[in-house]
Point group: C2
Chain length 185, copies 2
Amino acid sequence: MARSSQTQIAVLGALSIEPMTAYAMREAIRDVLGHFWSESFGQIYPTLQTLEEAGHVERRGGARARSSVFAITPSGTARLVELLTEPAQKTPPRNGLLLRLFFGRTLGRDRCRELVQGARNSAEGRLVEYEELLDRLAGTEGHTPDWPYIRLTILAGIHDARAAIAWADEALAELGTPHEESDSP
Amino acid sequence: MARSSQTQIAVLGALSIEPMTAYAMREAIRDVLGHFWSESFGQIYPTLQTLEEAGHVERRGGARARSSVFAITPSGTARLVELLTEPAQKTPPRNGLLLRLFFGRTLGRDRCRELVQGARNSAEGRLVEYEELLDRLAGTEGHTPDWPYIRLTILAGIHDARAAIAWADEALAELGTPHEESDSP
DNA sequence: ACCTGCATGTAAGTCGTTACATGATTGA
DNA sequence: TCAATCATGTAACGACTTACATGCAGGT
């Protein structure tokens, strides 16, 4: 219940890979999973507390009080499987680019080109990021049993970025070259 | 300010295409733009009021009080251009499928296959929907100056759905056939 | 007479982000 | 000793959804 179950998936899932501190979890989620799922800082701590009370995670207070490593418990693993099995609750779509392009007549053709060009650039950037991530993680995680799944996730990002690029090219072709109807004769 | 500017784009944009009642706007946004951008009911009314106070839209009270058609004013058009020009504020990613797949080891290979297969089916469904939408709108909107932009928007959806299908096929191939290691000899 | 669809709004509540506040540890 | 980084948490605020409440018009 409490704390949307999706956040619990992220937290329990992170601990299913290895025990870590809340701080480390925040970074892990930001740097890797963050490409597909975001959790804000203010969610992680309360969720950890809830899970601790429920006995799904346990706090291994390091020698120093000021740094507790969390680990998942057997009941936590069971809970994670339960949550993973629930159908993904679909987030309503919110694509700022398409919202703008939809009303492109008002914005003007040239501005739309810029918009699409920007989207293309950012998709190219993402593509490079994903490919680097794949290489980097293949080195560090390549031998863990989690790797095949992580890889598939990143692969989805790659397909997505490529599709965005292909679409942008098609759109740019249809929008024509700039100034086509304005200054030259 | 007030009421995230993105909602204002949707509302002013809808009126830039043609004047309509709040109710009609809700339906238009749900049925067409809804594939890429969602606005809930409870957002539209307050936003219309805010915009009316600012003079960006005007209410043409039909003969019967109980049905007011809203229209965009010149200042509203200016405001829309201003908003469209602002960079799209990126929504943090929230992909429930990838969140689950990422922790696929815990879920188990067979369950993951089901997950991906489900995603593939839903992408196929979306693809069909987009293609139908394209056909349907080509008939009703095909001659309006907004059409080229609406078309590009739907095209983005088509590219996206195709990419999802291609990814799913790749993923299914890598996840192997079901029962491969369980029951048969 | 009644049901469905058009139409307008409000209020409560959830969800999530951001900013703030605090302190320990470590290396320069 | 001073700055940067690791680390933990809270509180206020804002965004968005849902459910609720109301009523008219037109067709059967």
